[in-house]
């Protein structure tokens, strides 16, 4: 399937899936982090200017640390996300699904300088575009992924209603489609719900709002609330 989902198998034999973050969202995160760094440099620059040569030496040290280790420190201490990444709802993890390690974080951020070549992440962009998991060169060498935070969704309130047995057996995929439709129907407009439900006219034998209601009844039955 053509998808931005990265699946890996855990030692328990379970397939876990993660949504890979693409170029645009990562670029936005980077830009946000860049702005933060620039603000840090300017504010320190103003304060340290009063300390003369000593202050400038200190500023150089601060710039050095921020340029090379800003992402490493945040990735390690803040669950894989710099402030920019957190803002965009993405974070860095190892490609086996475990939290990013020091070694991996250091590799991906030191190699950033190669990704940046020849200018503005030229090589990194090429790498991301030809790689299935959107990895830049640093991610390839470190074995890391940039993924979306899994957002915790509240339990869907199935619209209230009775249960009714399906008129004929459905395959598991079809059953799941009915359930999924019902779970989602609260978040889409009634018109769209009816439109979708109309596709199942052969099953429900109804039209419009009634078809939607009928599907709800099937969903309740499938879910087992008899």
């Amino acid at each position: 399937m053509l998808d931005t989902r990265h699946t890996f198998e855990t030692p328990e034999g379970i397939d876990l899936g993660l949504s890979i973050a693409g170029v645009v969202v990562r670029a936005q995160a980077w830009l946000f982090d860049l702005i933060i760094r620039i603000i840090i440099y300017i504010s320190f620059g103003i304060i340290l200017a009063y300390l003369g040569r000593f202050g400038m030496g200190l500023l150089l040290i601060i710039i050095f640390i921020a340029e090379w280790f800003y992402p490493v420190l945040f990735e390690m201490l803040k669950e894989g996300a710099t402030p920019g990444k957190r803002r965009m709802g993405i974070r860095v993890i190892n490609d086996n699904g475990t939290p990013v390690t020091w070694s991996a974080s250091i590799v991906r951020n030191l190699l950033r300088t190669v990704d940046f070549m020849p200018f503005m992440y030229g090589l990194g962009l090429v790498s991301i575009l030809i790689n299935r998991d959107f990895k830049r060169l640093g991610d390839l060498a470190a074995g890391t992924l940039v993924v979306y935070e899994e957002e915790a969704r509240g339990a869907p309130q199935l619209p209230p209603g009775d249960a009714e047995a399906l008129p004929r057996p459905l395959t598991l995929e079809e059953q799941q489609a009915v359930l999924e439709f019902t779970e989602r129907s609260t978040r889409i407009s009634p018109e769209r719900s009816e439109e979708l439900a109309a596709l199942l006219e052969p099953l429900t034998g109804k039209e419009g709002e009634e078809a939607v209601k009928q599907l709800y009844r099937y969903a309740h039955w499938l879910q087992g609330s008899v």
Binding site: L59, I61, F64, E67, N96, L172, Q223
Partner: protein
């Protein structure tokens, strides 16, 4: 089993796992806390893995599968994470990991040393023999600056006037510049070694030509005491960064039994101790260069003596530190 019944049966263990995860995610030492309270995080985690597999197989509703998937994902991250005390990790690294990692790459170490030293010696010899040779690699203005910096007739005055806040500025500058170069030497190994090769050779040419030229001009008493001290750390560290860069390059040229990407991954992780160790050495070098090498109150004999001790220290460290007990450094 219908989904509702399944949910009712297992809801409790899901809530328990969720609570345990919340604890683990909040506190770093929470694993110990859990063990003490008799809770069975790994067992609970594995049973929820099982539930997820069942839920998927029975095609329960996407929401339930997502919920379990989320729990398992979080559990996976907590179970398969390394939480070792940070301080002991650093001590282990300095006493064993770093020198052991370098000794594992003796062949690359020789290669990097030759790539650096050979151009340095050749250029040094050429510039020592021919006063004009220096202009082949440096511009006239930079040669003039260099000469005035080390000219015994005026540098002594200039140096005595340099104040301590200026020393600190140079310290900051050396950190910013030299460690940055070290990191780039490593990183550019990813370009099939071309970047690393270039940094090693060009640094060799640069340093060799300056040393040869200044010796030829007879500025030995100002130049050599200045560079010999921090050179022990700085030159070694640049070569070590070169080794780390060549490790990346080697993985790309001859991945061996691994796929190219996997070979690169292994090489990069093996190179990390070298890069971090070299960065620390460059930090020490920056300190020595800024506060000791530039000092004009210390006599040259003492400076040479200290330089000899530093070189000996560095060599002994890499030869002997962390030997025995079969330590393998990589984590």
């Amino acid at each position: 089993m219908k989904q509702k019944a399944f949910e009712e049966k297992h809801q409790q263990s899901w809530q328990r796992l969720d609570a345990q995860l919340a604890k683990l995610e909040k506190k770093r030492e929470a694993k110990l806390v859990l063990a003490d309270s008799g809770e069975d995080f790994p067992a609970l985690y594995r049973s929820v893995c099982h539930h997820l597999a069942l839920a998927k197989d029975r095609h329960y509703s996407p929401h339930l599968i997502n919920q379990l998937h989320g729990l398992v994902l979080r559990g996976h991250q907590q179970l398969y994470t390394q939480k070792r005390p940070f301080v002991s990790q650093i001590v282990q690294f300095l006493l064993r990991g770093f020198p052991a990692a370098l000794r594992r790459e003796v062949r690359l170490l020789w290669l990097a040393t030759v790539l650096f030293l050979l151009p340095a010696l050749v250029m040094g010899w050429l510039c020592y023999g021919d006063r004009e040779m220096i202009y082949a690699v440096h511009s006239a203005t930079s040669v003039m600056q260099m000469e005035s910096m080390y000219d015994p007739s005026n540098s002594a005055i200039g140096r005595e006037e340099r104040e301590s806040d200026s020393d600190f500025y140079m310290f900051g500058y050396y950190i910013y510049n030299n460690i940055g170069i070290g990191f780039r030497t490593f990183a550019s190994g990813l370009l099939y070694g071309i970047g690393t090769l270039f940094v090693l050779i060009s640094n060799g040419v640069f340093i060799g030509s300056v040393a040869g030229h200044l010796t030829q001009r007879g500025f030995t008493d100002t130049f050599w005491p200045f560079v010999s001290g921090h050179g022990a750390f700085e030159l070694t560290a640049i070569v070590i960064c070169g080794v780390a860069g060549l490790q990346l390059a080697r993985a790309l040229y001859s991945p061996g039994r691994h796929g190219r990407i996997n070979a690169l991954k292994r090489a990069a992780h093996e190179a990390v101790p070298l890069v971090i160790g070299a960065a620390l050495m460059l930090l020490i070098a920056a300190f020595i260069e800024a506060f000791w090498s530039s000092s004009s109150t210390v006599s040259n004999e003492i400076k040479y003596g200290v330089a000899a001790i530093l070189w000996l220290l560095v060599i002994c460290y890499f030869l002997f530190a962390g030997r025995g007990r079969g330590y393998h450094g990589s984590q």
